[in-house]
Symmetry: C2
Subunit: 452 residues, 2 copies
């Protein structure tokens, strides 16, 4: 346990220094253990396991761009992302671990207690056993706080889902090297540090039940007061939950998306260049090779393909107080790789760089409102990394922006206003909120009064 | 409006007699408009629309039979099943219609206000417009009661889902020929009539909110009392909802099902015989051709392939009072055709005839408890039809069976106990309850004290 986050940071830096770690880009066509299938051009592991990089043909997307082809990561197996929770002195703490991922821009980040693919825990890697896994596989001790299959980055993964679990225990839990207990208040502080709480931790925490400290209610006319009421079960929402579910069903009905796996060699608009596969206008991402050495992983050295974004993304919710209750502008977004085609997404989710030279009417809706927000409208602004096991130096800027009271309540058909309580309910059921929306929801959950 | 159901029956018989209708089996290989694809053996319409009959290869099912191949109906397009509700004198009524379906054993049944595939309402059939559709397509008047994508028979359909909607209106609604308003109490009575309330109506009604008449609570120590408390939000459930969701996620994690479309000609164990495709041991179902003439459909005559079950199915929930609250024994069932592979299903769902000659340890669990129930344990017992647009004379016996107090609360890992309130919550979200469980849930919803 740490007295404060300063103590945590000292420990974290100490532990990171103690580990030998190095990741560097190498040519994709000379990766050890991986090859390009001569027929399809797909990139596959010699065992046929882990994942493959194939081509995806997308049409009738209903998005800013209607049809395209792209490389996509195909990884059918589900993993487990699990956080162990235990109270110390009446205060709930989460067991997190320092984990090196080859794609992390800073090498080490804080990951859930367990972050393992099935290959990890069935020993395909030939590596060490996964610690604490016994708390997340039946029959297990403890009380389930949340347990749900959630989607991952649907622009880069085809139908990838991981099991997100939080389990609370009362018994003693031995704390291994590189693991630590952090209170929710400490995690709230650490979420403000760039690139520290990894994506897997953020998505799992979106299912957490955060108990508010007792004491005075925040003033009604503040952002924090409106946010607090947005968690309230009885908080007045603009739309009843059944109307939101209907709006979501309607959006799925409108969705005409067709998508089909194709050989990677048939993905036009992309080509091999300097040992990578990249977009001809150098947008979106490139498929690159990475060589890794690490002392604290199941296997100490390996090579693998990864996706490297070409520019930083922006992921933002516009929020607005409606009768004193904070509402979020949620988008029903056609997610090309998502299991069910449409998921609830942040108001804005894109790489602005890709839209630099397109006419205004083909830019993502509300992007200008986010990028042009006045400083006092920005209620949250932090840089975080995406899954460092598949994405190389993938960072997004996460924003919560409060719009003025004259912002219209009438919004385009793919958008609607929801309270935090309503989104929380949808998180309990899989296939509703996408991973980007879940990250933002976690920032709301851990929002502190002094954040603004 | 009908004073009572006797008045309804008189009207129903009158209207049916007024209609010209005939459906007969004809050889599958001589259907007008349909042909067998020479390469795949698949059965397809000349337009490429409606649906196809293809082959499905199933392996690692984890069911009584681990792997098999079978014909399957592939129908990607979603339809709308919508019921219009309106209060008359403070009493909610549903607008239902008399509809002929070629597979109905009795020709005519009561279907939702709107029961239409996208082909229907986009005019592929070249037929008449779909009446009342405007209440179920945005922007529409009225208040949404439920609106969710739900699965259909997953043993016979691949990933078929329909939008299930209930919309309540206050304005006047013109009542067309063959349509009628029925109160919930009248529907409760009519659900006891065999083969009258069709499958589409039953699945939509599983999303209804049934207001209980005021007055005295049923006695605590009766089945009806236990059932009433099972609807209660505060009714004590054996398992918290988060535990049930975890149990469901766990079952999905265990599911190893792989399924793949294959050419129908590669489905071994099935062969052409007498103008049908049937199972070599004459089990399960046959693919047959049907010739139809009808005066009140969009098109007055057509031919089509259908699935004809070889024997009647049994669909049953075992129920048990736990601390005075009725609980249902729900199964997490690998559903070969279901969108997400696993859905919550009744305790028992099978064609018993298929298991007549198999050893006891390979029979479906709890089948003996259902078929061997003492008369006083049987709380509901009715014969209903499945979707008459695709299934020919497909009937199932629907049962609610109450087990004794010594029935174990510990059940195999794919089963759990839930209250009605908990199942109702899952129905609001798609991909949770299968169509068979939703039909049974509707019988619970409309259960009357004098049913037993």
């Amino acid at each position: 346990m740490f007295a404060d986050t300063a103590e945590f940071h000292a420990w974290f830096q100490d532990r990171c220094r103690a580990q030998d770690y190095r990741a560097a880009k190498v040519p994709l066509d000379r990766l050890d253990g991986w090859h390009t299938d001569p027929d399809s051009g797909n990139i596959v592991h010699r065992t046929g396991k882990f994942f493959t990089i194939e081509g995806l043909d997308v049409s009738r997307s209903g998005r800013e761009v209607e049809a395209w082809r792209q490389p996509i990561i195909v990884q059918a197996e589900q993993g487990v992302l699990g956080i162990l929770v235990k109270e110390f002195g009446g205060v709930a703490h989460c067991l997190l671990q320092i984990k090196m991922e080859p794609g992390n821009i800073n090498g080490f980040q804080l990951s859930p207690t367990v972050q393992a693919t099935r290959s990890n825990f069935t020993g395909v890697h030939g590596g060490k056993a996964v610690p604490y896994l016994e708390y997340f596989t039946a029959p297990r001790p403890g009380r389930i706080v949340s347990d749900v299959l959630q989607s991952e980055q649907a622009s880069w993964f085809l139908a990838k889902r991981n099991r997100n679990m939080i389990v609370q225990v009362e018994d003693d839990v031995p704390v291994l090297d590189d693991f630590c207990w952090l209170s929710f208040a400490q995690i709230a502080e650490l979420l403000r540090v760039p690139d520290l709480i990894n994506m897997d931790t953020r998505t799992v925490l979106s299912g957490a039940v955060v108990r508010r400290a007792g004491g005075t209610d925040p003033a009604a006319d503040t952002f924090h007061g409106a946010l607090t009421r947005s968690w309230d079960r009885d908080g007045a929402s603009l739309h009843a939950t059944v109307e939101l579910l209907s709006w979501f069903t309607e959006a799925k009905g409108r969705c005409t998306l067709t998508r089909q796996l194709i050989p990677l060699s048939k993905v036009d608009g992309w080509s091999w260049r300097d040992g990578t596969i990249c977009h001809d206008r150098d947008q979106h991402f490139a498929v690159v090779g990475v060589d890794v050495h690490a002392s604290n992983r199941e296997v100490t050295g390996w090579q693998q393909p990864m996706f490297e974004p070409r520019s930083r993304g922006v992921i933002a919710f516009l929020t607005r107080r409606i009768d004193g209750v904070l509402h979020l502008l949620v988008q029903a977004r056609t997610e090309t790789g998502a299991f069910d085609g449409v998921e609830m997404a942040p108001t804005v989710q894109c790489q602005p760089e890709n839209y630099r030279f397109v006419p205004a009417d083909r830019k993502p809706l509300f992007l200008d409102e986010v990028l042009g927000a006045r400083p006092e409208q920005i209620r949250w602004d932090s840089i975080h990394s995406e899954e460092g096991g598949r994405f190389y130096h993938a960072q997004n800027r996460y924003l919560l922006v409060e719009v003025d009271d004259d912002f219209p309540l009438e919004v385009p058909e793919n958008y609607t206003w929801t309270t935090l309580r309503q989104l929380t309910e949808f998180v309990r059921y899989g296939n509703h909120l996408n991973v980007e929306a879940r990250s933002l929801l976690t920032f709301f959950r851990f929002y502190q009064e002094d954040d603004r």
